[in-house]
Amino acid sequence: MTLRILLNRVKTDTLLKKNMTKFIKKEDLYKLLNSFLKDFEIIGPKQIANKGIFYEPLESIEDLYLGELFAIEPAKKFFLESSECLFHSGFLDGKATVQDAPLPDKRRIIIGLRPCEAKGLILLDKVFDSEYKDRSYINNREKSVIVGLACAKPDKSCFCTSMDGSPTGSRGMDVLLFAVEDGFIVEIYSDKGKEAFSSLGKEPDEHQNKTLSAYKQKRSELIGKNFKVPGDLSPIFESDYWDKVSFPCLSCGVCTYLCPTCHCFELVDEGRKMYRCNDGCAFSNFTLEASGWNPRPTKKERYRQRVFHKFDYFKKIFGENLCVGCGRCIRHCPVKMDISEIVSNAPSGAGK
């Protein structure tokens, strides 16, 4: 099978005019994915005993996990890699040399993304593929087909609906799978998705269509957390509220590294290679300056920064919260801090 347009990335103009809907049996889906293994790297969630679900390049489709549990790390790492080489420098015959790191050429199908994670990619696009074009991020985006999986059972930490998302949202997806009794209902949104999936399955029957719309409605209702983000947080910047709520914070990188939208990085110069590595605003040395001065010396400033970046600054620039409500930072916080609670309880106005 030749997949011509799969080399182009999702853009609005490549979205289909009308979504296609298909029904695929589980065996058929797995068969199809197996046939892709030759030409593609297939990345999907895999259950690892005692550890949970992880996105990994799959050697066998049998390992693919399409159950209720959420992957621990978001699929962000395949686009904005946790550590990637930007360029190498060298010293040859008395002269310094600089060379861009080669970009990987392998095409990928990333399967099992939840709607919140896919939406996270759209938010990252605003940073890495707008005014500034990031060579490696864009390459990763262009080389990937995103096959999502609608959430069957939201977790108690989930709050996507408060972030204008939905457990069945399609933003950022090429294809979205809905797990139903005996197979999957497949919604195809883009040319890429069409090329990959239209050859298989059949139109859903009426019962299946009904199931689908019920599924979509029901899932949103299952989200337990619902709140409204204050429109403007700036009046409470100086509030001692931040002092109070940041107390439990350990200043680790769990929330930022597991966040589908956090994208802060540091440049690391190692062995004549320049790397871009994950970094997080919770770390105490994130803003440490060479002079020794740290503008965000305590947890208060650092935690406030995280909240403001997500729910104030980003919104002011890009019109959306830099949060998709996936709940990872709540679920995996070693001390159970809850950003949704902290944001929703934030005092209004400039009061102390």
Binding site: L250, G253, V268, Y275, R331, V335, D338
Partner: protein
């Protein structure tokens, strides 16, 4: 037990014996606990105590330098404080230890990765091999009311049996399994941040003159970080298990810590967190230390 704890906190705050009490309150999910600081008598009602109180709170003490604080502490937490006192990081007179008799805490980690709420999960592994439910030191002890104030039936068993099993594996098996573990490390340093012993003003992992090991997330850097962390805890780790619990990607850090703990105990007869005047294990020696590995 909870009322007793709250009353104690009220009393301490009222009599100005402490400026604040560090303890646990209920988290937003209604089941878990979250660390909190209680500064007034009125707030003391927020304090809770149950098996959800997994965290080791002594890491928070460093946020309050030279202030008199109360702290709610289990047996394992107190051992951590003993190490901190021996390492000049904590003044015993600056803390009022509200010792809690503990029957084990929930396995928060297992609950999290299996998507359950924890109420149906048994005690954490560390509690299964815990020898004492009463802290080594405290200023007041709040006793467990329940009948079974015993930690575990397994406490008498060889607590290093899992380590021994891992040791017995072949070199290539060990190499492969640890590489699989370490490749998953995302260098979020939750293990470090949650560790009560990791109080360095700037961790070697964050230094860049020199760069001690790769910060880029490759296997070499990850391996180095985990070995460096383990070595820096040698003779200091009191097996509170917080690192392993906090690790989002499930690296069995306790296996490493306990391997070292076991070697130190068996080769040198040293145990961390028992005496406040103990010398740091790696900063002292005995002329008769084993040297059969040296040519």
């Amino acid at each position: 037990m909870i009322e007793e704890l709250r009353n104690k906190a009220r009393e301490l705050l009222k009599t100005k014996q402490v400026e604040a009490v560090i303890g646990y309150q209920r988290a937003s999910d209604g089941l878990s606990a979250i660390p909190c600081v209680i500064r007034s008598e009125e707030e003391a009602g927020r304090l809770i105590w149950d098996a959800a109180c997994v965290y080791n709170l002594c890491g928070y003490l460093k946020d309050f330098r030279a202030k008199k604080l109360g702290i709610v502490a289990k047996a394992c937490d107190v051992r951590a404080m003993i190490v901190l006192i021996s390492e000049n990081q904590l003044n015993r007179d600056d803390v009022f230890i509200i010792g809690m008799e503990c029957c084990g805490v929930v396995d928060e980690k297992r609950a999290r990765v299996s998507g359950r709420d924890g109420s149906d999960i048994s005690s954490a592994d560390k509690c299964k091999s815990c020898a004492s439910c009463v802290p080594l030191a405290y200023d007041c002890l709040i006793k467990e009311k329940r009948e079974k104030a015993k930690v575990s039936e397994d406490a008498d068993k060889d607590k290093y049996e899992p380590v021994r099993k891992l040791e017995a594996k072949s070199l290539s098996e060990k190499s492969k399994s640890w590489k699989d573990e370490f490749k998953r490390c995302i260098r979020c340093y939750a293990c470090r941040q949650v560790c009560p012993m990791c109080y360095c003003p700037r961790c070697v992992a964050d230094q860049f003159m020199p760069v001690w090991f790769s910060k880029a997330g490759g296997i070499e850097g990850n391996f180095s970080w985990n070995v460096a962390r383990a070595m820096h805890l040698a003779g200091r780790c009191i097996d509170c298990g917080e690192c392993e619990r906090a690790c989002p990607v499930g690296i069995p850090l306790r296996d490493i810590n306990r391997k070292i703990e076991k070697d130190i105990k068996e080769l040198f007869g040293y145990e961390a967190g028992m005496k406040t005047d103990a010398k740091p294990f790696l900063a002292c020696f005995d002329k008769n230390d084993p040297e059969d590995f040296i040519k």
